[in-house]
């Protein structure tokens, strides 16, 4: 019976196997792992796991601030008397919130743009794997769509600020700007990564052997897209 220890004593076979594996791994820019997933990809997933906790905390804080918004607005406000019906108090609190300011069609268009950028991102990865020279187009398109999304967010923040919703005005404003601002910062970080890839692509340094790099940036980009899917529904669509 042949065991693994015996195989280790076959220098020719092992040498051939090791060379073959090294060649294969070098060609794909990765190496063997016991999990069957490259270390870089595993590290990215762990990072995204920690990001889930970060955004989970921010969304939870937003929801808590929203739940306490009525109490916060009503407390000590001379316009609200103790004899006022609960419906009127609720109506007054809602009039003080950001929700009447929401421009749902505008935000929907932003969401659509971010979803479209996820499509161009996977197409960029596919083009890199196939080495067909189209990755620079798709990567540029992704960066452009991300920039349009950020421009929309800047416009929205400006509009809210002019309406009177400031970062330090109340708990709701702080939670809203922190949540959406953190997301915007992540998108901006993603755009910078994409621009680096575009630069590499135009210099001919982003071939199929670097496909995993594109995939890793893609994972990050899709993650910020997913976070926006949650924010869009929880913050904008559910009053």
């Amino acid at each position: 019976m042949t065991d693994v220890a015996a195989l280790d004593n076959r220098p020719v076979a092992n040498s051939y196997l090791a060379t073959a594996l090294d060649d294969h791994d070098d060609a794909h820019g990765g190496h063997r792992t016991s999990l069957g997933l490259s270390n870089m990809k595993l590290a990215m997933w762990l990072f995204l796991g920690s990001e889930c906790l970060l955004f989970g905390a921010l969304i939870s804080t937003y929801l808590l601030s929203k739940a306490r918004f009525v109490t916060e607005v009503v407390a000590g406000n001379p316009l609200v008397t103790s004899t006022m019906p609960a419906e009127l108090i609720q109506e007054f609190a809602e009039s003080q919130s950001v929700e009447p300011m929401y421009d749902i069609p505008f935000t929907s268009a932003s969401s659509f743009i971010l979803l479209m950028s996820s499509l161009t991102m996977v197409l960029a990865h596919k083009a890199t794997v196939e080495d067909n020279g189209q990755n620079k187009i798709w990567l540029s398109a992704t960066a452009l769509l991300g920039s349009i999304f950020i421009a929309g967010q800047v416009y929205e923040f400006t509009a809210f600020y002019r309406e009177g919703l400031t970062y330090t005005g109340n708990l709701f404003g702080s939670a809203f700007y922190t949540l959406t601002g953190f997301h915007g910062a992540h998108v901006t970080g993603g755009i910078l990564m994409l621009l680096s890839l575009v630069y590499m692509a135009f210099r001919g340094k982003l071939r199929s052997d670097r496909a995993e790099t594109v995939e890793l940036v893609g994972l990050y980009w899709h993650f910020v897209d997913i976070v926006w899917v949650l924010i869009f529904t929880i913050v904008y669509l559910i009053p």
């Binding site: 990765g30 069957g36 997933l37 808590l64 794997v129 893609g218 869009f232």
Partner: protein, 120 residues
């Protein structure tokens, strides 16, 4: 001989999935990517339309949360290749660790909500 075959099978598996590329036909095709995008587009449209129906309470937020979850799973499963990577990861340990961590994290947030009397 059996061990010999096993050795080759193991190293082959490690190597072929180790680099995480989709050159082995385990990731979606371009057509499937477009179909996922269309599904996301339609779901977003439905979400917005639903929010304009003037519904309140569970009738409003439950369908919205369901559609949001479907969108979440579509992006994570297809675009992030999570569905395919989890299939590649034969070891159940990683899948359980991933799923288990998710459950623990969600539980923590639920506990926080209760601790702050959000449902009171």
């Amino acid at each position: 001989m059996a061990a010999d075959t096993q050795l080759h099978a193991d190293t082959s598996t490690d190597t072929h999935v180790g680099h995480g590329h989709d050159d082995h036909g385990v990731h979606p095709t371009e057509r499937q990517y477009w179909l996922v995008f269309v599904a996301l587009f339609v779901l977003t449209g439905l979400e917005v339309a639903w929010s304009y129906l003037g519904l309140e309470g569970v009738a409003l937020w439950l369908p919205l949360l369901v559609m949001m979850t479907v969108k979440f799973l579509l992006v994570a499963g297809a675009f992030m290749h999570l569905y395919f990577d989890l299939k590649i990861l034969n070891g159940r340990l990683f899948a359980w660790a991933f799923g288990g961590s998710l459950v623990v994290a969600m539980s923590v947030y639920v506990v926080v909500f209760f601790a702050f009397d959000m449902f009171a």
